[in-house]
Amino acid sequence: MKKHLQRLYLGLIFAILYIPIITLIFFSFNSENSTAVFAGFSLRWYKELFSSPETFIALRNSIILAVTSSVIATVIGTAAAEGIYRMRNKHFKSAILSVTNIPMMNPEIVTGMSMMLFFVAVAGILSVSYESIGFAAMLIAHVTFSLPYVILSVLPRINEFGDSLSEAAMDLGCTPMQAFFKVKLINIMPGVLSGALMAFTMSLDDFVISYFVGSSNFQTLPLLIYSMTKKKVTPDMYALSSLIIITIFILLLIYNYKSGKRIKKRRLIGGYKK
């Protein structure tokens, strides 16, 4: 009896979670221009979506931004994790970790607002238009909010790995650099990769910060979706969303497979703690 009740509860919650997503995918195949009445099956909206250059530009921008920002965040973040691990001064160490975590704890809207004001000031100092630093601003913003997640997924690996193998490598003649790249980096790779994947998906998914920091000449997918939902929505927005959901689903499968989910949980559990 208790088991049945539990199953019923799980089923109910998951049904509520998935009904909107399934309806959305379902209506993306609607042959009529309606998001409420289903007239028949067609791929019309997908065709329309693929014939609009706007989508492709936004998709291209999103991917360029996600790739570059996640690479930069992973490199800086991994180096930072190693550096933080080496730090002797406890106070300095915890101060750095607290500052690093600010973008993660702060509401996104505040981070977005602060970065936008910062780049307005930078554009003012350089006396160029805001648009002309648009991509750089976006890139810096995305690296900044991804960094804590990279550090948070690499640092525990480094702590776990300890020093003995690197010391052994140095005793056997490696320089500290070689010991890091040839021994340590390879061993902490799972953490580095899941940090990178996390940074990538976060960048791809980000709306609020991009909305504040972005300028009209660099539109990403979430920004495109936002502008599409401002007007009367046609199912091509649904088609676009369905494609994104399916991509996320595939990424998630890979991510889970790579045992990366540990990190996500760690982020949720210890995310706001020092």
């Binding site: 997503i21 930072a80 550096g83 691990y85 509401p107 809207i109 504040f212």
Partner: protein, 270 residues
Amino acid sequence: MKKLSQIKHSAAAAPHIVWAVLFILLPLFIVTYYAFTDADGAFSFENVTSLSEYLKIFGLSMELAVIATFVCLLVGYPLAYIMARANPKRQKLFIMLLMLPMWTNLLIRTYSIMAILDDGGILNTILNTSMHIVGTKGAVIFGMVYDFLPYMVLPIYTCISKIDKHMWEAAADLGCNSFKVISKVIFPLSMSGVISGVTMVLVPSISTFYISQKLGGGTFELIGDTIERQFVTGALNVGAAISLVMMLLILLSLAVMNKFTDSEDGGIIA
């Protein structure tokens, strides 16, 4: 030799430190600067004093976010509990099912709820009714709960699944019935998960503007909408002042909650 390598290795954090100072601390400093100056850059308290106008909006945002967080906890705790008690293979599946919506863009999720609940939406079409749901507080709260529920469930789930199995047995052996096992043993032990779940739901709920725009139907404004409006209309100084206050409030409450969990954990485990 060792000492030298240590210095070199700490230097690996240097790019990050420079980055954090330039792009985290400096922007926050600029927000503070904007909050205390007027449009011409002269020092003024006007933005901060004008915040009293927004007190009602602050209150409403707080009210809706607190209700949404409470509902998330009420719905999410049993879910996390059942998940943590399921067999390991099932657990993995449940986690996947929970994470897919979480990784789906918030705009998409919110929009699809609106399409269902709207006046001429799917629900009303199917039931052939004319319920007015979008535009009510209930709809906004539902949207928050729907969007942020996974953030509540995952940390609690992690916490419960880490609790030693013997705790359950020990409590039962010592005479607890199953309700008491949960209320006296499991719930206190999962407190740190509850606290991080609460913060992870509360912070985005207070500051959201998309959910209230779509599901509030433009009938009321939350503090996130106010900031967004200042941004769109270019009233950056006022926007900065509101952002600053919101940030301070949230960091303060996080600090308080952190203190609370630390002592709580220490008390029970030690």
